[in-house]
Symmetry: C2
Subunit: 411 residues, 2 copies
């Protein structure tokens, strides 16, 4: 009987074979091309074990040999690399007015990027879920036609997602208690591959950690700069969601008790004083208006328009107050500003940095860097797809490849 731990547990008591398979897979992901002897030397696994693990991963089609080394001391060794192409990881992002799908292979190479119109708030949740399932089905079928095994599907949602993948609250979609995980699995007829649902800021943070300019950063926070502002918090290399998965709601921390009302019903929330609504200086009714308006603000700021620059300065100061909370409480290495903060960053970043520097008690602002995202608006979908690879790397391996029965030859 496993009871609750009395203290931290650095490793779970999981099946050692699966752990070792994932150790080898991750090692090859990071160090390929490499030999079986390299793997044994660096992981501490013995050579016979490594050979058996490599054979298993080759059977599954995840690794392949690429011939002998040259240029090294000792006997030539057969080099091994990741075999990315036979596999696909699917990420879908739900936004208020569009759906994004991003598919990558096992090696993280992008296979597909689609954007589709989405009724968002105009649809009831059931119809919206059907739209998402329809897109997922089209993507999965495409992968099947290309002969790629689907490793998993992950869906990013702008809202509070619980541990079972239900969306408890997504104000911008008008959703309350939508069992997106269950509905999607049913709509996809209980697929073989795993399905995961997660908050969009969380997936975007994971995208930055894997693919972004600060990839590999172990302590990183991503702030979505959309109509809402959410935080994806990565600490010690992993996303931290809190007890029920509702962490990251920096957007609803009060920044200014005298500030604007927030759509959540509270006053002076970060989202209300430093979100896109504050940049536009008005309530945002329909998200489709935003893109040209932000472009106009960027033009005005470039032209030195005083009112525009003053407004951006005010918003940046309040954003800096929010980032200073992250800085004092979490001491991240980097805070990445996403969404519409990206085009606005040239006019806001210096003020944000100054505010954070003044408000952080740690010497040298704890080493914090603040930067605009380089991943664009599909960061969350890309992070969702990356999350599927994380699952595989953590030991959620696909079953051995089903080789189709040969067709009966004609007599």
């Amino acid at each position: 009987m496993i009871t609750s731990a009395r203290g931290p547990r650095p490793a779970d008591f999981t099946d050692v074979r699966v752990t070792n398979l994932s150790v080898v897979l991750r090692f090859v992901r990071e160090h390929a091309p490499c030999s079986r002897a390299d793997i044994a030397a660096m992981t501490g696994l013995n050579k016979a074990t490594v050979s058996s693990l490599v054979a298993d991963l080759m059977d599954r089609g995840m690794l392949r040999e690429i011939g002998l080394t040259e240029n090294r001391v000792g006997r030539p060794a057969t080099m091994i690399v990741l075999d990315g192409a036979p596999f696909s990881a699917v990420g879908i992002e739900i936004n208020v007015d569009y759906l994004t799908a991003v598919v990558i292979d096992l090696a993280g190479e992008r296979l597909l990027s689609w954007r589709r119109f989405f009724p968002g708030t105009d649809a009831v949740a059931d119809e919206a879920v059907s739209e998402v399932a329809g897109l997922a089905r089209r993507v999965v079928n495409r992968m099947s036609r290309e002969g790629r095994q689907v490793l998993g599907l992950a869906v990013a949602v702008p809202g509070l997602v619980d541990m079972r993948g239900a969306v408890r609250l997504a104000p911008n979609l008008g959703w309350t208690d939508v069992d997106l995980y269950g509905d999607l699995r049913r709509a996809l007829r209980e697929p073989e591959f795993p399905v995961e649902v997660e908050n969009d800021a969380n997936f975007a943070a994971m995208a930055e950690q894997r693919f972004g300019a600060f990839n590999g950063a172990q302590n990183l926070v991503y702030l979505t700069g959309e109509i809402g502002v959410g935080a994806g918090v990565v600490l010690d290399g992993r996303l931290r969601r809190g007890g029920r998965g509702y962490g990251g709601e920096l957007g609803h921390v009060q920044i200014d008790p005298e500030g604007h009302s927030c759509r959540c019903g509270r006053v002076g929330c970060l989202e209300a004083v430093a979100g896109i609504g504050a940049v536009l200086d008005r309530a945002v009714a329909s998200p489709t208006e935003i893109e040209p308006e932000i472009a106009q603000i960027v033009r005005l700021a470039h032209a030195g328009d005083r009112a525009t620059l003053a407004r951006l300065h005010r918003v940046a100061r309040d954003l800096g107050r929010g980032v200073a909370i992250l800085s004092n409480l979490l001491n991240p290495e980097v805070v990445i500003l996403g969404g519409y903060y990206v085009p606005l960053a040239p006019f806001m970043l210096a003020t944000v940095e100054e505010e954070v520097r003044l408000r952080t008690i740690a010497p040298d602002t704890g080493g914090l860097r603040i930067a605009a995202s380089t991943l664009g608006h599909d960061a969350a979908a890309l992070g969702a797809a990356g999350r599927v690879l994380d699952g595989v790397d953590s030991g959620r391996l696909p079953p051995s490849r089903v080789v189709p029965e040969p067709l009966p030859e004609r007599a």
Copy 2:
């Protein structure tokens, strides 16, 4: 060559034997008494490996056999338990006016609790470090005389501690850039056992997680209620310190832009509006005055004194604003109020809870519970000692048993 990971790594590429030794040690810690077959069945290690690992841990004096089982199906098996007594883990807490030492054995049983006068702010850092080293030496010698191997020493400091154990800033001690780790190791003549230095709130959080009323909670924040207010943040079962170890500074997040000045030079910090200075409604010059004054406030509150209750209500409301930041951003299962918040909790907790409930966007306040600590004022020292056990459980095993020569004490 190990380069930085491109993605999260669920397990490090550490030596598998050490990992497996620590898996067995932790299993026995949680499930003793248990048999070798139990260990094999639950960990996935094979029986021969388990026998070898158990023999190794018995050689080191960490496990012992306690005879055969009865009352179970099948052949009787030799049962194994942790052999706590031959080992000691030493925790020391530095406070402004006293030092606390707590020693526990490998099984977590308390062996010793000492409190000593400490000059605190009146001493220069060199003298203060000598005092700490002197106390450590006396504790270590006591353990040697008792025939116990010292597994490690961990020291809790009220300040910003970097990753190498240097205290960068401890305002209440008047310390800036004190290499406490290095100074202590030198003063202890480079001991065999590991030495660790950490922020006091961090160690107190670890004490709660291991020994407190919410032990085993995977997402827990501890707030020190001393002159300063610091947070120890445990997420997914582990302390999260941030990139340079400066996380947890909720005490210097601005709660009220119109609030009191803080000793850090900023305005309206949580520490200034909801720390013990705010409870006493004045600047605190010497910490020795606090204890009787808090007792007096508790008496007045019990007697229904209106001014006292109003002041505690005001402080509780501001404390609630701070806890709501934790709640929205981190979604912890429990926030534990320590230090002087403990005797004040009966008059503050309801207001704190109400404020947090109103300010948290997650349904049902994300499941958060807020509670007063049950561990008393030596939580940080106890957590420091527990941290030494964590190190052992994570694979930092002591060498085969050697009882050290006593260290020379000052003449």
